[in-house]
């Protein structure tokens, strides 16, 4: 049993006392009415996705453009962390290359969008096609890395994917006429559709796009995790030999996990390019990959809710530290030094402390709280 992922209820020691055997009368008890979509995993997940989308839809009307921008960034990160937490938490493959995979998606979207504009091709279908291309390219890159990764374990895989993360600036410099080296590319993004009215803020429109992408990503990952494949992922992580003995193709399972999580990373990268309307290699460096790792560890490895917590913190923490340091009267030089680095130092420290003290992350802490409350409830 792994300690990085104690976040699954099945593995928890049963703290609830054993229930008495069913009474003979129980057969006459009318079964509970079905909860929405119960019985079909897909329907249940679709229901929750629809609820979440509706909530966010109304929230996006109530907040100002900057908050909408932040919301969109959280959603873009959520695309990536959902896939990564599946890969690392459930399949046991640690990837430091997801920043690079995001770059694949982002650069593809940038090139596709600008190509469409150059050829005067306009229409509402442009962005979905660009994003789909981004996902495709990232998935192809993921398949390539995944095939190699399936033969590597633990620190070896981490080292190779670390080298992948360092390759991004090399590519953008080598093929400078395509990727424009360190300056990067600006991304042509359509204004919101005319049907939404002339004064519709573009940030809200981008937030909707990002939320939509995050919901697609979550839906795919959640369904996969609850399927036969998800169980294979966990089996391969926990014991490869045993998994092989029950007929699971280990390498194929690992490649599948890598490809799906790479596709999610590509989608997240593409959305990030749309939101920030620019791509440059410095955004997708090793630090981004480390931040993504922090996000999934902090949220709770292997948990999709944890992925959401992590994505939220990736956006909130730098924002909060900037707000706090602005409160102090710092010299511009010192403020400049603190600007990007203070959140990273806090991230690093948090990652270490969480790993040492609470390897289950935020989601596990909530679950423990829930268990305690339920136990008290039963006792009274």
């Amino acid at each position: 049993m792994s300690t990085t992922n104690p976040a699954r209820p099945a593995e928890q020691p049963q703290t609830v006392p054993v229930r008495p055997t069913r009474s003979p009368m129980s057969r006459f008890v009318v079964p509970r009415p079905l909860r929405p979509g119960q019985g079909s995993t897909l329907l249940r997940h679709l229901f929750w996705v629809a609820v979440a989308a509706a909530v966010v839809y109304f929230v996006s009307y109530g907040i100002d453009p900057f908050r909408n921008y932040q919301l969109a960034t959280v959603a873009a990160y959520l695309c990536v962390t959902a896939g990564l937490t599946m890969l690392t938490g459930l399949n046991g493959q640690l990837s430091l290359g997801h920043g690079a995979l995001m770059a694949c998606g982002a650069y593809t979207v940038a090139l596709a969008q600008n190509e469409f504009s150059d050829r005067d091709l306009f229409g509402p279908w442009r962005l979905p096609i660009s994003l789909a291309l981004g996902v495709l390219v990232a998935a192809l890159a993921g398949a390539l890395i995944g095939v190699c990764a399936a033969r590597l374990r633990g620190p070896y895989l981490a080292g190779v994917t670390l080298a992948v993360a360092l390759v991004v600036p090399a590519f953008t410099t080598r093929f400078a006429d395509l990727f424009n080296a360190d300056q990067g590319l600006s991304v042509y993004v359509d204004s919101p559709p005319a049907g939404l009215g002339p004064y519709f803020p573009p940030e809200r429109w981008q937030a909707w796009i990002a939320i939509g992408a995050a919901m697609v990503s979550l839906l795919v990952v959640a369904n996969l995790v609850n399927s036969r494949f998800g169980r294979s992922f966990k089996a391969v992580r926990d014991d490869e030999v045993a998994a092989k003995l029950v007929g699971i193709h280990v390498a194929r399972t690992q490649v599948l996990a890598f490809v799906v999580s790479a596709a999610c990373a590509g989608l997240g990268g593409g959305v990030l390019a749309v939101i920030s309307q620019s791509v440059s290699p410095s955004v997708f460096g090793l630090t981004l990959s480390l931040n993504l790792l922090l996000a999934i560890v902090l949220g709770g490895l292997g948990s999709l809710f944890g992925a959401a917590w992590g994505a939220l913190l990736l956006v909130l923490l730098p924002y909060l530290t900037t707000e706090v340091t602005r409160g102090f009267d710092l010299s511009p030089r010192l403020a400049n030094k603190l600007e990007g680095n203070l959140p990273l130092a806090i991230f690093g420290l948090t990652l270490i402390v969480v790993m040492l003290v609470a390897p289950g992350g935020i989601q596990e802490a909530f679950r423990a709280l829930g268990r305690t409350v339920r136990r008290r409830w039963r006792r009274t």
Binding site: M1, S2, T3, T4, T88, G92, L94, L96, C148, R151, L152, R153, G154, P155, Y156, A158, G159, V160, L162, A163, V164, L166, V167, P169, A170, F171, T173, R174, E240, V241, K244, V250, G285, L286, T287, L290, N291, L293, L294, V297, R333, N336, K337, L338, G340, N341, L342, L344, A345, F347, G348, L349, T350, L351, I352, M355, L356, P359
Partner: protein
């Protein structure tokens, strides 16, 4: 041809530094079965300390000694204060904690010194020594070779000729038995980390003047290259680390000389993948790697 010879010598001195850095990784791997992903960040910290002191005092030697001492202290601190408490149930735990340390250390260095490149001055004349009209190497390259050779010889003597070295090997090889025989295994582990950090610190100080200079992320690519070197050598053998370092140094020198310096990271990735997929145990492995 001149260019080839020049690149070969350049590759040899790069390779010497990678060899030292890879040796640091191998030392920790042998002692604790951990790949220290924070090695690069730790070397950045010690290099900043060394060059700051050396600029203030005006003596390269003092800076070099500062690198040694701060490396020793940092390595012991990281082991005693951090790595000792990491659960070993999952092999990823060590890696994740080390990566957290990378984020923390580079950010702290960035907060103190800022994110711009700082020049790291060389202690010696940089002009090349010419032999028969062909520029071969600078005095600094000679200094690099001498230092790395001294490190290798000292480590070899330590592990094969002294009681402490024997205890360290025993503690790594069979911790329980060594503990029964009176070896303080925990202290040996700390010593291993401290030694590795010293070697890493020296490598960092040596390579900085030949690269772009001091920067919080200056060691990222050096770490990846040294990791590749250690993998080429098999991660478990000090001799392999030295040979691997030289090989990787030569490959990177040729790639950056003939194809462009920007492609160095790609070359590192290709070398890593080639070795791990074709000979997972390193080029010296005789036993077949375990396949599952």
């Amino acid at each position: 041809m001149d260019r080839f010879i020049f690149l070969t010598f350049d590759g040899l001195s790069r390779g010497a530094v990678y060899a030292a850095f890879a040796l640091a990784l191998v030392l920790i791997w042998r002692a604790a079965r951990v790949v220290n992903f924070a090695q690069g960040a730790m070397a950045v910290v010690t290099a900043y300390a060394a060059y700051t002191i050396s600029d203030a005092v005006g003596s390269y030697l003092v800076g070099f000694l500062v690198a040694l001492v701060s490396g020793l202290a940092l390595g012991a601190l990281v082991e005693r204060g951090l790595m000792r408490f990491v659960g070993h149930a999952n092999p990823l735990n060590d890696v994740i904690v080390a990566l957290g340390l990378v984020l923390f250390l580079t950010a702290v260095v960035g907060m103190i010194f800022g994110g711009e490149y700082r020049a790291a001055n060389q202690p010696f004349d940089t002009s090349a020594i010419e032999v028969g009209g062909i520029p071969l190497m600078s005095r600094y390259d000679l200094f690099i070779w001498g230092t790395v050779a001294a490190i290798v010889v000292l480590l070899a003597l330590l592990f094969t000729r002294t009681a402490v070295g024997l205890r360290m090997r025993a503690a790594a090889f069979a911790p329980e038995v060594s503990r029964l025989l009176g070896v303080n295994v925990g202290r040996m582990l700390t010593l291993g980390w401290a030694l590795a950090a010293v070697v890493g610190a020296v490598a960092g100080v040596l390579i900085l003047p030949t690269e772009l200079g001091l920067h919080p992320h200056a060691m990222d690519i050096v770490f990846a290259s040294a990791f590749a070197a250690a993998i080429v050598g098999g991660l478990d053998s000090p001799v392999g680390a030295v040979v691997g370092g030289i090989i990787v140094g030569l490959i990177l020198s040729y790639v950056s000389g003939y194809l462009g310096a920007a492609l160095t990271p790609v070359a590192v990735l290709v070398v890593l993948l080639a070795v791990l997929l074709l000979r997972p145990g390193g080029i010296f492995s005789s036993v077949r790697a375990r396949t599952v």
